[in-house]
Symmetry: C2
Subunit: 516 residues, 2 copies
Amino acid sequence: MNKGQGCVRIVKVPVPRLGNNIADVERLAGVLKEELATGRVSISLEVMKGLPLLLRRCNHRVKLILFREAWGWKVAGVKAPDAEEPVCGVALDMGTTRLVARLIDLETGQALGELGFDNPQISIAPDVLARIHHAGKPGGLEELRSVLIDSINSCVETLCKGAGCGVESVYSMACAGNTAITHLFMGIDPSNIIREPYIPAVNFPGTLDARDLGLCLNPGAGVFIFPNIGSYFGGDLVAGILFSGLHTKENPSILVDVGTNAEVVLGTKEWLIACAGAAGPALEGGMSKMGMMAGPGVIDRVAIDPQSCEIKVHTIGDEPAVGICGSAMIDLAAGLFLSGMMDIRGKFVLERCADRLVQEAGIDTFVVVPAKESETGFPITLSQVDLNSLTSSKAAMYSILQVMVEHTAGMSFEDLEHFYVAGTFGSFIDPGSAISIGMLPDIPMDRFKVLGNSSLEGAALFMNNPDLLDEIEIIRQRLTYVELNVNQEFMNIFSGAKFYPHTDRSRFPSVTGYLL
Amino acid sequence: MNKGQGCVRIVKVPVPRLGNNIADVERLAGVLKEELATGRVSISLEVMKGLPLLLRRCNHRVKLILFREAWGWKVAGVKAPDAEEPVCGVALDMGTTRLVARLIDLETGQALGELGFDNPQISIAPDVLARIHHAGKPGGLEELRSVLIDSINSCVETLCKGAGCGVESVYSMACAGNTAITHLFMGIDPSNIIREPYIPAVNFPGTLDARDLGLCLNPGAGVFIFPNIGSYFGGDLVAGILFSGLHTKENPSILVDVGTNAEVVLGTKEWLIACAGAAGPALEGGMSKMGMMAGPGVIDRVAIDPQSCEIKVHTIGDEPAVGICGSAMIDLAAGLFLSGMMDIRGKFVLERCADRLVQEAGIDTFVVVPAKESETGFPITLSQVDLNSLTSSKAAMYSILQVMVEHTAGMSFEDLEHFYVAGTFGSFIDPGSAISIGMLPDIPMDRFKVLGNSSLEGAALFMNNPDLLDEIEIIRQRLTYVELNVNQEFMNIFSGAKFYPHTDRSRFPSVTGYLL
């Protein structure tokens, strides 16, 4: 099957005659049912309206635009077989802080453009929790919904303009986001997500009409929403699993999405278990709170010579430094530790740091870039408070991985064939640095696979191959969500992981440095 | 099962707890799938939006409004179990000249009101053929669609006002009409219906969104459109078959719908064959062209003493006569024939008519009501031209019945257990009169059943019992449409039937009168 053949098909409909005078719509449906080997085909009113004339003009050959719903196939559009305008789909990753949309030509499978933009809900409420609270205020839900939809509409318009087509060329969309943002996207109150017993309004809305959602696409367009597994495990992760192929592997692999929270999925083609870090108070705030977003002048790589303690920073665009991003923070911590400027408890070591260590409001603060070298005129620093936060986060991450792999699945990290790292933040992490600080397990480097924006990629995959709906359903049904039980045992594990790289040094044989 | 229980149900949804934290929508869908014994339940976005709060406010008991689609059930609305506003459906008969809508309380099955109104398309084009041509002109289709939809909207609004509710209380509608009007209702070009090989655009559109059709009902309302069998056999007849129960009978019965055309369905629970009179040129113009519509002063019954030739007329409302309706025309012809004022060829007999027979523009014309007794000041008359037209029509009707029963099914009229007469015109026909003129076969009077507006009644049945969708599908699949072959054999049969009651007197043993 050609890429995209599932969504756009040219079909030949039998020519009616006195002996075969079935109506146009039913004649078309008959051909489709045979081609798609399905009993269920639905044809939208818009398509019914255009079909009779088009069939007769085009010698009973027409181009159909299809999408799949749970119960069968829907014909969203019909065109002349040689129509020039592209038939497009949009894959959309809906992040709490940022959205990324990709316009895809459904006939060729090619990307026609991609555009990222800040989630405009940030200006109303900064994080998921605040947004859920805001949705409970009068008009709040509608306010959050409409800014989001408006921003998506204008993004799609820009993408279409760039591809030389109009928004009416977009016949389908696949959206992946966390549970809360998915609710807000649909205009559904998410308040019960954060109230015991933490119940989403809906987990699998399926394919909705673009119009019902307020999206300006083709009038017949369908919008597939990746299913949530629960309040703390969203469709973005299901899309990520789909993209990683974790659910198709013989041997166990793990997928870690480090975004606002840390979410972990472990499994094979036989079983899938998952947990989300939001359940653990240690991860509150999350890894991504550290550092700033990528942009010109942001430090994205740090290297420290373990002997001389010389620091080399790389900034995006090689501009004067303005700040430091999260993944560089992990490099920095790794360098500080391996050079002995930080001890195994995660405290700065004055003798090694020397004049790099200053006091700010009575707190030990490490100067990464001195004021005179920075763009802002202020030094770029890492305080002991920041460092403590990073220590907690890396310990929480490792603890979650340990609990999942060793305690829940009864395996060892060695058993993992692939270690997929996903998420906008996770994609930039250097696995070597993450191992050095004891955040990721010490397994061979070639087992780590950085997936990039796996949520977007999963949505794009589905856009091109509607048959993946079956795989999504399999993931949804097979996945067992494990509530992370933050009990004394977890806290013991967590305490051990708060050391650098770990109290149990045998877990990190490859980590060697100044102190070790 | 209570009447209406299929459409409106109160369900108890399990209370969520930490161990059973399935999302609200899926928990509801789970209960419904069990109750309805189906794998397919779809829940509209509007319902998803209202569900979480309503579940928690109403102790997890909610009232659901459902309708059935081909592939499963759809939840169109959700309310508190004790909500006071009624949950309504509308059954709609869409006739070429007149529409009738009935507002139904879906919880009790009771009619809350009924309203008939002229088809506003008449002012644009008088008959089906003219409307199909008009639809081909620029803007013509939209013009015909919008006047129709507007009139339905204002009718539903009036009905709702009368029942003390708003249009948002209407969650479903079932529409039955002929193939052309069904196309116009959906805004689909019907032009191929009248072009060889006579192909409708669509026969079974299923359930469409009210909004897509421009109907102002509840935003989640579904509109079921009774399927056509072909260009000349519409959903109104399928609704009529459903209402008659013809498709469930052990022994053969026949259903005759005498409206603009004469449509005939013959069958049992095993088989159904149908034909429509539009195929025969003899019926062109149809029975219903004769006479005027019912209204105050319209003669609806005529009785003639066979010996004295005294004429007694009954008018609607006992008002002075203004005209004569179609069914009374048949009474009149029967009386004229049985009293010897008309001969077996359908020509006036001067000796018997005496001074009742006058000349108008050189044509023999029979005075039914003299000018001095009528409301208009003009005599109410029946000309030889009118009578010839009636003769052709009655002969065509009998010929179609004979061809269907004797030639196609190989039975005799005696074999028919029931003879259902439907249609706004047919409902007023006195079977005795119709037998006397040789229009209907001479079978025992108790086999005739007058169904009234069977199209409306069929739609109303379905509103109250969505499970009838299966029966509609059975009717649709089982029914074989027979093209009436107007060949020499038919013309021979037709010629015999143009006599009163028939050239073959043995066919009408019960018909005796002055001449016989």
